[in-house]
Symmetry: C2
Subunit: 339 residues, 2 copies
């Protein structure tokens, strides 16, 4: 298939072409890059939504519920086409979970307006996040309005999801003990919307209190005189980078669908907030700048590898492996060599 | 302080100099790099041990127990100096947990043979794993025999820990439902030793069965004729890269210390296995090669940034931000420009 035929097939909704192109992107083939380049002008439309949380919080079930809500909105808005990228080896979308979960996801698969792709298998090999960027851009270009990116939400992946997503949803669940602590300690800082799922479980009140106090701790409080002579405390914005947005806490029961409508509305509100404050464009610009930098880094290294004197490289490596020269110094020395 | 004075202070066990140098490494200062280069010949001695698992599995408490066991071995071996790097925002070592946990860790801090450092604060800013490599190398150079690196164990961090550690311990706990699934789906593949902690909780038998069957699923089985006419099934090696090592499943109760001795012995056995099979050296070589590559990539990009025509760069970026040229094409075009 020529590049032109292929991009036309993709734009017209050919799912087989889509699956094939995603694989090419994951494999970092030249074909994949060419398709992405050709379709790039069609990107920048989709709402990228990161859904992150520990295993056991039910975020996959919630993702499925949310996808259905975008497809068949309870309120009077247009249905949206939904792409789901599961960047989580434990996700039912990637086959890493119990059968019941997989069955719950399956009915989504029959909907032409939903495209589900697991990117888990690349996890153990690295290079996952680079491909996630590109696959999300592809889904954007071929007309998916909303792209739900499910990650396990820990460590480096958090940084990536915040960079990639317009809206980041952090999912917690009661009865996870230390998990609530996890949210206090850092994950909260990336949440645009905080979800307390499994709200029918015992311990939900305790979890809600913990999350609320964590939200308050994460925020900055100032005391001011309200004119009546009394000092009052007022919560100000959580983050300087998010003036005017205070992450809501939404209770859901993903299994039954409870709270999905509220979550959907909250996502719409966050989108509106981003657009109004020109943060939507700023987020897109930051993502594209980062994608350009990644490409530059990759090309610079590959170009250098292609032209470096292999003997000199092997000598440098040997000096490192024998603990004579540090990797820091060896790199500097090697790059000083005439090419 | 001159570089020479500083490296001598570090080698003689100066903890203030150590803390300062670690900060310099985290901040990627030139001073930090110089110290690392000067001390590099002293590296390559320490046993790097990754301890990974979801929040709530009790891996921090287990890490503390293990540190004590290395310091005061129950069997007749030399005490070892222990460095602990908590690359996990939820770790009690990084202050991200309940007070009880922090108290349990504190008695370790009074021991001159133990150095604890949290690297959590860098998590949200990225660049964490590069610094972890270097800080682990520094602890190695200043005489810590064992370096316990605690990570939350999900996504990209897994790849990093396997690359960095000689021995990777995956910690699970009963009553975590989906968590056991998580182990099935990918984390098991990185485990050199599998720990089922909180073995006093209800559900431990179910969890043990799940883990055992997951271990079997992860392995490859072959049926062969044992000569008696019967076909027997024999588990063969889990991974081609680990011939002869079958990850043991060890039950522990970190809170009471139960199972710590067995875990310690298992770690010693894995070390011996690595040394005997020349895998110890191979792992060190792989880590150093990767560190050299990282340095090269970083220098190549920085050097290019320093010499690129900023106007050309801005033009390229603008063409991307206006969705006219893809980041893939823009990078290629930009690197083709005469410098």
């Amino acid at each position: 298939m020529t590049l032109k035929n292929n991009t036309e097939a993709l734009r017209s909704g050919d799912r087989i072409a889509l699956a094939k192109t995603i694989s090419q992107i994951e494999d970092q083939t030249e074909e994949g890059r060419q398709v992405l380049s050709a379709l790039f002008p069609y990107t920048g439309q989709a709402h990228m939504i990161g859904i992150t949380g520990s295993p056991g919080t039910g975020k996959s079930t919630l993702t499925a519920r949310l996808a259905r809500e975008f497809r068949n909105p309870s309120v009077d808005i247009q249905p949206q086409r939904v792409g789901i990228l599961a960047v989580d080896p434990t996700s039912p979308f990637s086959g890493g979970a119990v059968l019941g979960d997989r069955v719950r996801m399956r009915d989504l698969a029959g909907d032409e307006g939903v495209y589900i792709r697991s990117m888990a298998s690349r996890g153990a090999l690295g290079g996952l996040s680079a491909a996630t960027d590109s696959v999300a851009a592809l889904l954007d270009a071929v007309g998916y309005d909303v792209i739900l990116i499910e990650t396990v939400g820990a460590g480096q992946d958090d940084v990536e999801i915040v960079r990639l997503a317009h809206t980041t949803i952090v999912v917690a669940a009661p009865d996870q003990g230390d998990d609530i602590q996890a949210i206090k300690a850092g994950i909260l800082e990336i949440a645009d919307i905080l979800v307390l799922n499994k709200a029918d479980l015992p311990g939900v009140d305790r979890a809600e209190r913990a999350l609320c106090s964590a939200l308050e701790l994460a925020g900055t409080h100032r005391t001011f005189n309200d004119g009546s002579g009394h000092h009052r405390e007022q919560a100000i914005e959580l983050h300087d980078s998010r003036p005017g947005w205070r992450p809501p806490l939404i209770k859901t029961i993903a299994l039954s669908g409870e709270g999905t409508v509220e979550l959907h509305q909250s996502i719409a509100a966050h989108r509106q907030y981003l657009v109004d404050g020109k943060l939507w464009d700023a987020k897109n610009a930051a993502r594209l700048t980062s994608m350009l930098e990644k490409q530059l880094r990759e090309h610079l290294y590959q170009n250098w590898q292609n032209r470096v004197d292999q003997k000199a490289y092997k000598r440098a490596l040997k000096s490192v492996l024998s603990y004579r020269v540090s990797p820091y110094q060896a790199a500097i020395d090697l790059l000083k060599q005439p090419e």
